[in-house]
Symmetry: D2
Subunit: 374 residues, 4 copies
């Protein structure tokens, strides 16, 4: 609960934006996993602020592994990641600490913590806490990749500009290609237009949001549970933990509302394994994976930190004031958020996969011949 998530593989996060360090403790990681540290850094790089379309705060994000890792392998005991905070300009926040930035967590932080919150840079609410999540996700991803499970997220929509969609026919190569792009879109020309859009909104002292589309391939059948631990429940729980996420949908999502059942149903057929002709349900039936790719969408609201003058109030005096934001802020986070979504998905899927391994381990000792576990 609170800052720990997961049943079998658990992640505990800690830290504040302008504190000494942020980090995560991973528990339930199997012993004997060889880690590729370069991959972790490559993932961290995707999250980093870059160019004109991100904040000027540039953190090195040097990772220290404090425990659970010995001679190049995980040990099976708690795996602790520490990321020091370096590029901190806390003075920026002192003057404005009682000023409630619209759509930020300033007001709720005051209410929640009775005035004791670390108000510098969003404190524990900061998107900066997503750095240890990306590191944790990078470790989960390595285990999944080795099992043939791949995860990718692209910006399906930035304001009014839409990327082309994933194509199931050629999905593995599409994923590989997407991961090689610096800006996470399938069509690079559309990506350029999105970057332009972000730059323009920054010039207008404004910000934009968008829709991220994710796909998870190579997923075995049988992950998840009916009801409370449905794949949708577990993944949405993680995705809504990302600041700025305000909607999550699976398969056709909200488009289901205007279809008839006869249009929406996915017909089963058999071709080496059981498949469905369409994937409207996004790879999940009754909360459980059916072996088709998991497909989902996440909406990211426009970043609330804009440089236009905004009306708001002072928490203590309750007086109305005009807020003119200072400091360093992102005009959009959709491009940085893709790897955070991938990481959350990896954390959730690894937990579900380990639970499924257990069921298969038990079943494989038994006689009945439903060979659903590979």
């Amino acid at each position: 609960m609170r800052n720990t998530i997961g049943n079998i593989f658990t992640v505990t996060i800690f830290g504040e934006s302008h504190g000494t360090a942020i980090g995560a403790v991973l528990d339930g990681l199997p012993a004997g996993i060889a880690l590729d540290e370069d991959f972790i850094y490559a993932q961290m790089d995707k999250r980093k602020a870059k160019g004109n379309i991100s904040t000027k705060r540039r953190e090195e994000d040097k990772i220290q592994i404090l425990s659970g890792y010995f001679q190049g392998y995980t040990t099976g005991t708690p795996f602790t990641i520490l990321i020091p905070n370096n590029d901190v300009k806390s003075k920026d926040y002192e003057k404005t600490k009682h000023i409630l930035r619209p759509s930020h967590a300033d007001f709720t932080a005051f209410e929640k913590y009775f005035g004791y919150q670390d108000y510098r840079g969003g404190g524990h609410f900061s998107g900066r806490i997503s750095a240890p999540i990306v590191a944790a996700g990078a470790i989960a991803l390595q285990i999944l990749n080795a099992r043939g499970i791949h995860i990718a997220t692209h910006i399906a929509q930035c304001h009014d500009i839409k990327d082309t969609a994933f194509l199931l026919d050629d999905i593995e190569q599409q994923i590989q290609k997407l991961h090689s792009h610096e800006f996470p879109v399938i069509d690079q020309n559309i990506g350029k237009r999105m970057i332009e859009k972000i730059e323009n909104s920054a010039k207008a002292k404004d910000s934009v949001g968008g829709i991220l589309e994710s796909i998870i391939t190579g997923i075995p059948t049988g992950l998840g549970q009916p009801f409370f631990d449905s794949v949708e429940s577990k993944l949405s729980h993680l995705l809504f933990s990302i600041p700025a996420v305000k909607g999550v949908s699976f398969g056709l999502g909200f488009d289901f509302s205007s279809l008839y059942g006869s249009q929406a149903n996915d017909a089963f057929y058999y071709d080496e394994k059981v498949r469905t002709k369409t994937n409207h349900n996004g790879g999940i039936n009754g909360g459980i994976t059916n072996g088709m790719p998991i497909q989902l969408k996440t909406v990211i609201k426009p970043t609330p930190s804009i440089f236009q003058s905004q009306e708001t109030i002072d928490y203590h005096t309750k007086e109305t004031i005009q807020l003119q934001l200072q400091g360093r802020h992102d005009p959009a986070i959709i491009h940085r958020a893709c790897v955070v979504v991938d990481s959350m998905l990896a954390i959730g899927i690894l937990d579900l996969l380990l639970e499924r391994d257990l069921e298969c381990a038990f079943h494989n000792n038994k006689e009945r011949n439903h060979t659903t576990c590979e």
Copy 2:
């Protein structure tokens, strides 16, 4: 995990559609709550199949309270609800048990449980399990109502027909009125058109889905946590546990994607308490309630049980067959789902409220003067 949800107030569900009984165990319920059993039955009634727009299976849903309730009050020990299954026609399912109904959980149940699942009527995957959830929610709701918190859900969209939206100005009366309607829409004339749409799709051997819009009023500030126990995370986890839910969004949800930050931000002002001029964030900032109503949307896919002939396969032979569904099925569940959504929200909000009570209890013994807890 699996069939238990909640941190402080927990709900454990059990049962199969055609088993002896279904039910729930509620733990963490405070001692000394006087319950209105009529209210529980009124809620159960809302979920019941009725008229031409629902299945012909008519369960009496007589509730037995087995424990945790003594002389008209909760005792503080596990509160157990039992609902016997009576109107069961299991023979319907025997012939078709290997036939994988499209977009149903038949296939994933086989994979998950290696062929040992109770395949009758969807077994543990059945929407029937939502009956004990409604009973549990009715108990949570009574506690919330007594604290001035109200929850309501209407069908915002049935296929292509849209209901009018909630109006924050007159919300309490609108909620009360909505709860008095047999068909859960704000505008009864629109409701009639929706019923017609459902009847027509039933005649066409088809089904429809829709979008449900919910509101939670009277909510104190400070509920929820940053990250993993954000209000959005907790509520979406519960909502995605409802069979047929494929999308959940808060506030403007997916409409955030095409707005600028300057359009999306909610400006703070003060009028007796801190408020926001708009409620685009749906009452939640940084995962925590800001005192404005919680507003959210849930998409329900069209019920997959349709009477048109459908192509599918046999699980064992893998051969393609034409499926002609028999039995009793709903051409739409959106109207029955509203109370299930209300119930899930009540379960989640009560858990969050009890956690908040604890923080306030601790704080009220301390000196600093942030009187955010009433």
Copy 3:
């Protein structure tokens, strides 16, 4: 938490001594387990009140399996056990509800539940709640037995009479023999003396307690975790949940205090597998099973319900009164408690074993050659 225990295999208990029914929900049970219902009833029989040395309340303990069981196999969904209460004489308790029986939970129940507790027969505090635990344990035991793991508990000491100890040389046969005895001691002659002791203390309107010794054989290495999920932590947590248990020790237990390290250490040797010459640590090193039998002791205090006149107070008036107990009570529960201890151990060991299965499943796909998982 509260009434749910376990990580992977969880048990939720509910019910009051004089309520409609008591029961348990088991979750995480693998699908496809064929259950021997006779074995469950045989276990229930061991717990039943019998002869002159137990209460006159005689419950039939008819078990209803409400869910999770289909065509003779577990389904993998919540397995619900219901045991109706029949032989209830609630009037006995009405007159004395404010009288605080010494060393009973009457006072703490008042404090805990603010006067809303079901005070009849101990309510939710009653030893009667151990009936669903025995049923749950019987299911866990069947799974363990099929894996070659056996559990047994005998009365090592009843007041001043001591049974002979387990002998590791011949342990499997000794366990089998012990399970065939109606009174759970190794030496039947000593058992007769214990029964006499209990009868005599009953005649003297008094009660006795004792020490139970348990053994778990056939246990693989590698169960448990360092620190918070040590085998000792998990098993003691369960054992201290049994009313009347006031001490738990492993291996030499409190006798360790007067030994030197050179006397206490268990020397390793190899004979087909790694073993230790002595088993002073009770099969557990660093919180983890070493493959030797788990050995532990549990102390049961004398039953507090005695028929001698006792001084106490009225909860409301706070006045001193002489209490003369009425009703039906046990002069000893040590003989009935053995199967409850076995059941709690089975519940805990199954949870640990499933967790270990998971680790082995993951490891067996890897290259390094430490074949510690069978």
Copy 4:
């Protein structure tokens, strides 16, 4: 689970004896607690190796608070403690890594982690991990002390030497005095004899263990739950997490076995509040605190690291060898363990107290007049 414990107040531990650092993440700590850092260091000092009766490894145990602490107060977000490892001589362990030290976790670590464990200095099994537990406990203790709850542990028995017992009449002063003693015994003369005993056993290349007796005063009524979250269950779970603990008992503990009920029962009387004449049940009835001091005993086995030659085997070759231990080891840890026990108890009691606060907060808004919550 695994390395996280607690329901409302949770502690997650991490680290290895010879890794970069060890530490703990505390979650659920209320916001606004002013901490006395000197008190934390004073507690850490009690755990430190000292004089001739401890290992020669001398760690400075400098604590870094990484998060959750701002301007001298807790913030309500995860509170992270980091303790770097400095005085590490890892070469000592390289030569002996396959040699299974008797009664150590070497063998079970190999089995558990398939050879991937950090074998240096016991790795994650090391008693060194109790350092962050003491730091965590020091924070919990400050909150408890401010609420009038005090905890103390003395060496009741070191080998064959027994300290005088706690006296309830004068307990608060006795506790204060005990905390001022460098060697944690009530009678300092007996303490000198214990130190002599430890020194002598060290000279004989041997080690000793003992029994620790703890008391918790000022505890409100109503903490704990019947069954799985009984005070005994929760506290024993924590205590058995301490390496070397092999037995835990409450009140009279194992001495209950030879008493009659008439001797064992605690008679209630009233003097300003409800009390019992004796405290045989150690302040707990039915798993719940009755307001009398909690009293309990913990047995610590003799430290397995002795310098005498011992027969054992090599994990890989399975050959018998004579082990002559090198390195730095404790001839006894009973004196260092007292503060670890205090810390574990503080962690458990704070969790129980916060849960109780919640019940009281809810109840205080209600009418019935059972004023059990202060």
